[in-house]
Amino acid sequence: MMNRSILLVGAFLAVPFFSNAQAEAPKAAAKAEKIAWHGTWKGGLTEAQRTGKPIMLVSAVPQCHSVPGVW
């Protein structure tokens, strides 16, 4: 019961940051300005050291309940 509660709370808390429920028109969203992400630590860190820019670091699993294709 305890574990189940923890699971539910965990899933709930993860929603506002890493959920992908979009109601907006996808095509419009695709052309909207977006953050450009480096996909590896090594690549991003090398670029930060090259440019002297600070780093925004985010990590997440690209799946929900093992279903891929969603943050």
Partner: protein
Amino acid sequence: MDRSFLADKDVISASRKFVCIRLATYENAEENKILAGFFSRGGVLENTVFTLLTPDGKTKLVSAGRSPVWAFGGVRGAGINAQPEVSMKKMGQTMEAIALAYPGKGKATKGSPPLPYLADLRLAMNVTAADRQPLVVVYSKSAEQRKKMEQELSKVAWSDQFIGQAQYVSASDASEFKSVKNFKATSGFVVIQPGTFGLTGEPIAVIDAKTSASKLVESLAKALDKHKPSTLTYNQHRQMGSQAGARWVSKTPNQEKEARRGGGRRPQR
């Protein structure tokens, strides 16, 4: 992905003054250790991590946590597009202040920006499906040719027109495309439409490997325009994925899931 903090126009604007790194948790043991060094509880690397760092990647500039809410306040569990304006503004303003403190090397910067590559094609298709974006694969068996292609494409990828509009990955062998339907093993910039669940994909264009940056602008724009993002809602996606048996297995164990399954107590938030 976050529809408030990371989609906020001020945050996106400030992000251009940062190097933005987004990792896939549990896909790389080395990266897992780095992430856990910034944020973990009870020795468990959790599904999600967020922080801002100095350019050497060693020092946290804000509190690390599961999301920007931990650093800038906001509402946990309130759903999409529900973060308070004040929290998003705080994030944008904090990033601008950090950018002033770490303005970068400016004209003293040597070299040119590399393509923001994902680790491999398998992961890249999943990530692009999750982002509902097209994927551009720099494919050639020749390392020398790939380098030339990268140089040309990077001039385009960071331009105002294309920045943030696609994901990128490198491939050197046709076998890497085993989940890409109708792939013809020809060197080039292979623009892929990932399947809904990112387990498969299909080329929507192949641009000649020798295309120069100036010519790439038009051909890439046309190719990216052919991409059709999924229109499923989050719940529809999950439901359809479950029904279709679409499953993702991380390369390393999902520590958070294992901690729960093992009855381990999750630290208090």
